[in-house]
């Protein structure tokens, strides 16, 4: 289904920011299911350092919205143990760069317990975390690490590019009986969009959305680069018809929607903020060449972070941060 069709099917929508959409998703899921609770550093009274959980502590109290010690291995491990024993924790990792601090519990426990135990446990845990450069936060607070999780067997990963996707994916993650990581690009928290207000609106894991239909080239984008690609597509509309897909779910990945689009357009640009080597771009490119190689009319282009960390100084950060201009150059190169 295209994103437009999803919005049109929804009976009522409201314009809101990505931040508000995620908060709405969390509020609705807390109201819907008593097994669900939030935990993380400063998610409570403080409302989250990037204000996503603001107001939820006041509404739901200490039991449902829990401030943890600065202790990622401890609380991500506890969320894992809790998920195996009958509750549904939603843990916030303040910045995805802190993932490494808790990686043992993620890799060896959360991801493997169901499999190692022969299916004899559920793992209904959600981990929300922030990603991305653009606010001068320097290397340890600007990483885009979602390829680590999407690559690792036993974990699911989503990365919304619109406000509607942010709400729908967050709710699907909380409802899933599998461990799901929600990667929120912090530069789009203020981005606005139409969001279905239906409390049952979810975006199923593993479904990409065609955000803009086009005929000449497909841009498969994630997170902030979805919006930038849409703007670029509009600005090029006199010369080239660009189809833009929001990947939304990194694992499972909707190969069919992407391959169908490439079969139609014959050209592909993959735009994702993560480092270029061995990552999300490579996976999408591989699947397209497996599924639609003979439909390709031009070399596939990749837009991402050169294999650098995110530097601090604004001209350096702007140099390495991929944006709509990079997408434009890539489109022009192959059309």
């Amino acid at each position: 289904m295209t994103a437009q069709a999803e919005i049109e099917r929804a009976e009522e929508t409201e314009t809101m920011t990505v931040r508000e959409a995620i908060r709405m998703a969390l509020r609705e899921e807390l109201q819907r299911d008593e097994d669900v609770y939030l935990m993380g550093e400063d998610v409570g009274k403080f409302g989250g350092v990037l204000e996503v959980t603001g107001g939820l502590w006041e509404e739901f109290g200490d039991e449902r919205v829990r401030d943890t010690p600065i202790s990622e291995a401890g609380f991500i491990g506890a969320a894992t143990g809790a998920a195996a024993t009958g509750t549904r924790p939603v843990a916030e990792l303040m910045f995805s760069d802190f993932m490494g601090v808790s990686m043992e519990q993620i890799m060896n426990q959360m991801a493997k317990m169901r499999y190692m135990f022969g299916g004899k446990t559920g793992m209904p845990v959600t981990v929300r975390t922030t990603e991305g450069g653009g606010m001068g936060a320097a290397s340890q607070h600007s990483g885009t690490v979602h390829a680590w999780i999407a690559h690792f067997p036993g974990l699911k990963a989503v990365a919304p590019g619109t406000a509607a996707a942010a709400k729908g994916l967050t709710k699907a993650a909380v409802r899933s009986n599998d461990p799901v990581f929600v990667f929120e690009n912090k530069m789009i928290y203020e981005q606005q969009g139409e969001v279905p207000t239906d409390e049952e609106f979810t975006v199923p894991l593993g479904e990409a959305a065609v955000e803009r239909e086009g005929e000449d080239v497909t841009v498969v984008a994630t997170q902030r680069l979805v919006g930038e690609s849409l703007q670029t597509a509009d600005s090029l509309s006199d010369d080239v018809s660009v189809e833009v897909i929001d990947v939304r779910s990194l694992y499972p990945l909707d190969t069919e929607t992407i391959a169908d689009s490439v079969r139609k357009t014959g050209r592909l640009v993959v735009a994702d903020e993560s480092p270029l080597s061995y990552g999300v771009h490579a996976e999408i490119v591989s699947r397209v060449q497996e599924e639609a190689f003979f439909s390709l009319d031009a070399p596939i282009q990749r837009i991402g972070t050169p294999d650098t960390h995110m530097p601090f100084s604004p001209p350096l950060e702007q140099e390495v941060l991929p944006d709509g201009d990079d997408v434009r150059e890539a489109i022009e190169l192959i059309t």
């Binding site: 609770y37 039991e63 829990r66 943890t68 010690p69 202790s71 990622e72 291995a73 401890g74 609380f75 991500i76 491990g77 506890a78 969320a79 894992t80 143990g81 809790a82 998920a83 195996a84 024993t85 009958g86 509750t87 924790p89 043992e104 519990q105 060896n108 426990q109 317990m113 169901r114 499999y115 190692m116 135990f117 022969g118 299916g119 004899k120 446990t121 559920g122 793992m123 067997p153 036993g154 699911k156 899933s176 009986n177 599998d178 894991l205 593993g206 694992y251 499972p252 990945l253 190969t255 497996e290």
Partner: protein
């Protein structure tokens, strides 16, 4: 009511039976591993039986435990079935984890066993999480995290105990100080004399007990359980015990000598407890021998069961990854089934 308790004669006999079962299970597993019938590695619990059994004697059946590398003893103490455990060691479909876990990962979450663990120090965060679920749902349970002396040095162990202490969760952390972290003596890994001293950092009680005495372990864990249930948070119970075998089977143990092992064997937890029961007139030598023979037969049956059990079908390799199988795995799973289990060549 607990499965068994050291407060009744019947319960004490059951505790002895479980200690004997652990020893027989593990010595037999060691033999079959040496013969090459059991794949991978095994880490045996022999010598430490009083700790697992003493701790589990203080628990209710639905309490949770999270285990260590050396998990067979905890499984038997918790009441898991030796047949299904042995089948798991042999990599068979009928094992607890359908042959996907093996010795280091035997688990039965429904029975309150959150898994043996291949990662040193990884169990305590899971126990804290189980205690979080218990607390969140106002259930009448506790969660026990077992850890070895080596794991006390792990960062995630500190984080787990700190979180449980900060939130007053119904958790108990049982440190099995068996004198060696893999091949390094405990004195070379820690600066404190008693590993329970670390409890001071969390403002929780820490006690060190004789881990070769099943009664002492049970009493300490019972006290810790009461405290946990009353909402006062976790306790660290250090049980001083000794690992008779190497870190793993096949370990040549250049780090210690036979005299040391023999000296500890004088304190053997099974002999001490059976002697106590005989002295009290609760058990006769004949009954003890009968119990040993029954257990030998039981473990022999477990071996036969494991040997005869079917191996998993190769297509099982694709099961159990997720509650909902994604297309990425489904394509392999459907191919394996179509091939009757053999994957090869073009997998698409």
């Amino acid at each position: 009511m607990a499965d068994y308790t050291l407060e009744t004669e019947e319960g004490r006999r059951e505790a002895l039976r479980r200690m004997l079962t652990i020893r027989e299970f593990d010595s037999t597993a060691g033999d079959y591993f040496a013969d090459g019938e059991i794949p991978g590695f095994v880490h045996l619990y022999i010598g430490e039986e009083a700790v697992g059994v003493g701790a589990c004697a203080a628990l209710e059946p639905d309490d949770y435990i999270a285990s260590t590398h050396r998990g067979h003893g905890h499984c038997i103490a918790k009441g898991l079935d030796p047949q299904l455990m042995m089948a798991e060691l042999f990599g068979k479909q009928d094992g607890y984890c359908n042959g996907k876990g093996g010795s280091m990962h035997i688990a039965d979450v429904d029975a309150g066993m959150l898994g043996a663990n291949g990662i040193v120090g990884a169990g305590p965060p899971l126990a804290t999480g189980a205690a979080l679920s218990i607390d969140y749902d106002d259930r009448e349970q506790v969660a026990v995290g077992f850890l070895g002396d080596g794991a006390v040095a792990q960062g995630q162990v500190h984080e787990a105990i700190n979180l449980a202490a900060t939130w007053d969760l119904p958790a108990v952390f049982v440190v099995e100080n068996n004198r060696y972290g893999e091949g390094t003596p405990v004195e070379e890994q820690h600066n404190v004399d008693d590993l329970s001293d670390t409890a001071g950092a969390y403002d929780i009680p820490g006690v060190t007990v004789d881990g070769m005495d099943v009664t002492a372990v049970a009493e300490a864990v019972e006290e810790a359980r009461k405290r946990a249930r009353s909402g006062d948070g976790p306790t660290i119970v250090e049980a001083e015990t000794y690992r008779y075998r190497g870190h793993y089977e096949g370990d040549e143990q250049p780090y210690r000598d036979e005299d040391e092992i023999e000296k500890w064997k004088e304190q053997d937890p099974i002999d001490r407890f059976s002697d106590l029961l005989i002295d009290r007139g609760e058990l006769t030598e004949e009954e003890l021998e009968e119990m040993r023979s029954e257990i030998e037969a039981e473990i022999e049956e477990a071996i036969e069961y494991a040997q005869d059990a079917p191996l998993p079908d190769p297509s099982e390799a694709y099961e159990d990854m997720f509650a909902e199988m994604p297309p990425e795995i489904e394509r392999f799973a459907s191919q394996a089934r179509a091939d009757g289990g053999s994957l090869g060549g073009d997998r698409r």
